[in-house]
């Protein structure tokens, strides 16, 4: 028996707790046998420069729409059971959580693939922008690997 998550796509300022999200997705189906997570965090060094602070901005509605499209396509194309995607916005310190993707399926193989695809797709299609603050000033990042 499955129950749908109420908030599997979220763009929010506040932090999230990874284990809470894993527990939430486990409740979706008793057929879940594998869960893969990707957690992106604030990194201090970027292109040799020391970053003191990050700031994320998004295009409301379109960003949520894109994340939902990613979730739906991941479930369809990789045969996973459920996916949670959370991205934080606003000011984020070094070491803090930025983005979380949780892919849950019957077996590990499809969840690894879905998770990797989803973060790449998020970076490619979702209108979210990162501003880095360094000792020399602030810069909008436009070429993330």
């Amino acid at each position: 028996m499955s129950t749908a998550l109420e908030s599997n796509i979220r763009i929010q300022q506040e932090n999230f707790v990874v284990t809470d999200e894993i527990e939430a997705i486990k409740k979706v189906s008793r057929n879940i046998g594998g869960i893969t997570t990707f957690l992106g965090t604030g990194r201090e060094l970027s292109k040799g420069e020391s970053i003191s602070k990050l700031n994320f901005e998004h295009y409301p509605k379109m960003a949520e729409k894109k994340l939902d499209e990613i979730r739906v396509q991941a479930i369809k194309d990789y045969g996973i059971i459920e996916m949670i995607i959370i991205h934080r916005i606003g000011e984020i310190d070094i070491g803090e959580n930025i983005v979380l993707i949780v892919a849950a399926g019957e077996h590990r193989k499809e969840t690894f693939k879905a998770c990797e695809w989803a973060i790449a797709e998020l970076k490619r299609t979702t209108p979210i922008w990162k501003r880095e603050t360094t000792s020399t000033g602030e810069v909008w990042v436009q070429d993330t690997p």
Partner: protein, 83 residues
Amino acid sequence: MITVKYFANLRSIAGKEEDQFDMGSETTLKNLSHEISKTAPKIGEMILGKKIMVSVNLDVASLEAIIKDGDEVALLPPFSGGS
């Protein structure tokens, strides 16, 4: 009126978060870009040179896309979400 939204570095270049353009009942994204160029030539160049993406009512659109009165156009510099 057509609403144009500026994000990230484009907001600094335009000096504002959004703009309103009266383009009649309908126009193309290309025509709107020429109008934007009058006040922000650098941004107009970016759109016409396809250096940035553009969305119309939340969907990515081409320069030939038809825009109607009341539509929301967003100018989207390269994304950098994730970590």
